[in-house]
């Protein structure tokens, strides 16, 4: 075969590729963003993308370089390096596993500022941010508790890490605050993105009597579409765009609203005053409650909105006494768990059916 001849022929094409990226010099600030999945996932990545588009709209002259499906490997270093070479002065590394690669790159490029989603590492040019999701799940629970008839709420969880368990706990506490008979049944799929298994998990929950399902996986699309198909209510998470997938049985959902934070960060970089911090904000800042679906009665809407306001004003559902689902008191009367403890849940609250480990 003369295949070997093809390789030198293809080489110039390879060299031309970077030239396709826009030149940076003409704009005020170039921002790079890497996503672990597609920005059309109705979920985590779409919410990140929406935030950056809001930033771009708010600050005229900002150039945005985006890369989707960036794996959480050294490949991400090469992609971020390429963005820096094309003038990026601010990089958003949006997936948890991008942290170490972005951090190492930040050491080599002190003139470039980095923001990472969900991590903990910090440097003068490296900060991190995330939504305080746990308490925000409380009003979702209120909505589910009011809508259910079977008193079985289904939760499809990717991997039961502490933060996810915290979300499930707050969801269950919200549900039981309005409906003491409500139970949350948890099914773990073992991965953040295995669509066929997510569909099977949602079906399993519905087969076992759940009439409201929700999820914490990267993209809510499969679970919501499965629920809609089976005629069961759903509550979304990650991006409020997911409402479009369930015209009939959508209740409400939680979405990240990163726009204001990303805009502020970009402005601070342009002004030369980037201040890295560990930013964690909940409802009202980095999170929002999605619009209600058509099946939700007015009284329920009022209750959910009131619960969301309560959380926004600082209500912490993890205030003792809190008992786990084996009857052990985990948070004593008078104590409460703050933001620093949200990753430490390895137990489900009373009313959750399942094992976290």
């Amino acid at each position: 075969m003369r295949l070997r001849l093809l390789i030198p022929l293809l080489m110039p094409l390879w060299l031309l590729l970077p030239g396709a990226l826009p030149l940076a010099a003409q704009t005020k600030l170039t921002v790079g963003a890497i996503y672990v999945g597609s920005v059309h996932d109705y979920g985590y990545n779409e919410a990140m993308h929406d935030g950056l588009m809001a930033m771009k709209k708010a600050i005229p002259g900002v150039t945005l370089l985006e890369a989707e499906n960036v794996p959480e490997t050294a490949e991400s270093t090469r992609i971020m390096e390429g963005m820096i070479q094309h003038g990026a002065k601010l990089i958003f590394a949006t997936s948890f596993g991008h942290q170490q690669f972005a951090f190492d790159l930040a050491k080599q490029h002190p003139d470039v500022d980095f923001e990472h989603a969900g991590g903990w590492m910090q440097m003068p040019n490296f900060g991190n941010f995330f939504g305080a999701t746990q308490a925000a799940w409380y009003p979702m629970g209120v909505a589910a508790g009011k809508m259910t008839k079977s008193n079985i709420l289904g939760f499809v969880a990717g991997v039961p890490i502490g933060y996810v368990v915290g979300n499930i706990n707050a969801f269950a506490m919200g549900a039981r605050s309005v409906n003491p008979k409500a139970e949350v049944h948890v099914v773990v799929t073992g991965g953040w993105s295995d669509k066929a298994k997510e569909a099977a998990a949602a079906n399993a929950l519905i087969d076992q009597g759940a009439d409201v399902v929700t999820m914490h996986v990267d993209s809510p699309a499969t679970v919501i579409q499965t629920a809609e198909h089976r005629g069961v209510y759903s509550i979304g998470f990650q991006s409020i765009a997911a409402k479009a997938l369930a015209p009939k049985f959508w209740i409400t959902g939680l979405g990240f609203t990163w726009g204001p934070f990303m805009t502020e960060t970009a402005k601070s970089v342009m002004a030369g005053g980037f201040k890295p911090a560990m930013v964690r904000e909940g409802l009202g800042q980095m999170m929002a409650v999605a619009p209600f679906g058509p099946a939700v009665p007015a009284a329920t809407r009022t209750l959910v909105t009131a619960a969301a306001e309560k959380v926004e004003k600082g209500y912490n559902p993890f205030t003792g006494p809190v008992t786990d689902n084996t009857g052990v008191v985990r948070i004593k009367d008078g104590e409460s768990w703050g933001g620093d403890k949200m990753g430490s849940f390895d137990w489900y609250v009373e009313g959750v059916i399942g094992k976290p480990k």
């Binding site: 039961p160 759940a210 993209s219």
Partner: protein, 290 residues
């Protein structure tokens, strides 16, 4: 409780097992002709993404299925060119096809991520592919064991030189087997995207192609045995999810291992059986007769 536990497990087993069954049958046809296709995962992925894309563009899920089958055939023909005409090593070429499938399906599916497609319509609770799955297996059994074409196919899989001497054309028959196998593999992938999840996601087959290859061994290269095989494997996944949904007192991490533990157990117990029914020329290329 709306449905009884057993009914729930059975329904979910059938739903999870359907794509596995089509993929297993697809692999089985090729192996009967002596070709191991380790790239089945790639064929399925291409079927899943092309089917999804075609259904999204045309608005017709059945056209999507047809496109998925043809795309699977095309992928397998490419593989066939490498291993039949170019006589490359089947295992290496198969793995290459798998990676090619990952890339090609991602490229094809990219503009359609997040698209909303019409799912396969349901008749009496299941889509047409589910209803056609078992008849397809029976039909394939008839074709392999009751037709002249099937006899030639098996002859080529057992001993291509002897088959050639008796007037068969091993290369042509192997291409035909791979085409049919690719069609079935593509349909198997499309069942995931067009019926089970109604979404396209990169790498969404998540190892089901490899489970299907193991299932061919479980089925002893007999299409009829592939039916209970696919049900058992689909059931292993369904059962563990249903047990979780019921709140069984077992670690979810342990339960998520069930389908793979089962695969291993089956390979262990089938492995020691010396009366193997594997086609004798499986994995061996035909270099013609001097």
């Amino acid at each position: 409780m709306s449905t009884s536990f057993a009914a729930g497990v059975l329904t979910s087993s059938i739903l999870s097992g359907t794509s596995l069954l089509y993929a297993t049958l697809g692999e089985l046809v090729g192996e009967r002709a002596g070709i191991v296709n380790l790239g089945l995962e790639g064929t399925m992925l291409i079927g899943a993404s092309v089917g999804f894309a075609a259904a999204s563009v045309t608005g017709d899920p059945y056209l999507g299925l047809l496109a998925a089958g043809l795309a699977g055939t095309a992928a397998n023909l490419l593989f066939g060119f490498v291993v039949i005409s170019r006589r490359a090593n089947q295992l290496a070429a198969g793995l290459t096809l798998m990676f090619f499938g990952f890339g090609a399906s991602a490229l094809i599916g990219r503009p359609f991520v997040g698209a909303i497609v019409p799912g396969l319509p349901e008749f009496f609770g299941f889509d047409a592919l589910v209803w056609l799955a078992a008849p397809t297996a029976v039909g394939l059994w008839c074709v392999i064991f009751r037709t002249r074409w099937g006899l030639g196919l098996r002859a080529v899989g057992e001993d291509p030189v002897a088959a050639f001497a008796s007037g068969r054309r091993p290369e042509s028959l192997r291409y035909q087997a791979l085409s049919l196998g690719g069609f079935l593999g593509g349909i198997g992938g499309a069942h995931l995207s067009l019926a089970l999840t109604l979404t396209w996601d990169e790498g969404m087959t998540a190892g089901r192609g490899f489970i299907a290859i193991a299932l061919v061994i479980f089925a002893r290269w007999n299409p009829l045995w592939a039916v209970p095989g696919a049900l058992v494997f689909g059931g292993a996944e369904a059962l563990q999810l249903q047990l979780q949904a019921r709140g069984a007192d077992v670690s979810p991490f342990l339960m998520n291992m069930t389908p793979y533990l089962l695969t291993m157990l089956i390979l262990v117990f089938w492995g020691w059986n010396r009366r193997s029914t594997a086609p004798a020329a499986l994995g061996r290329n035909f270099f013609g007769v001097e």
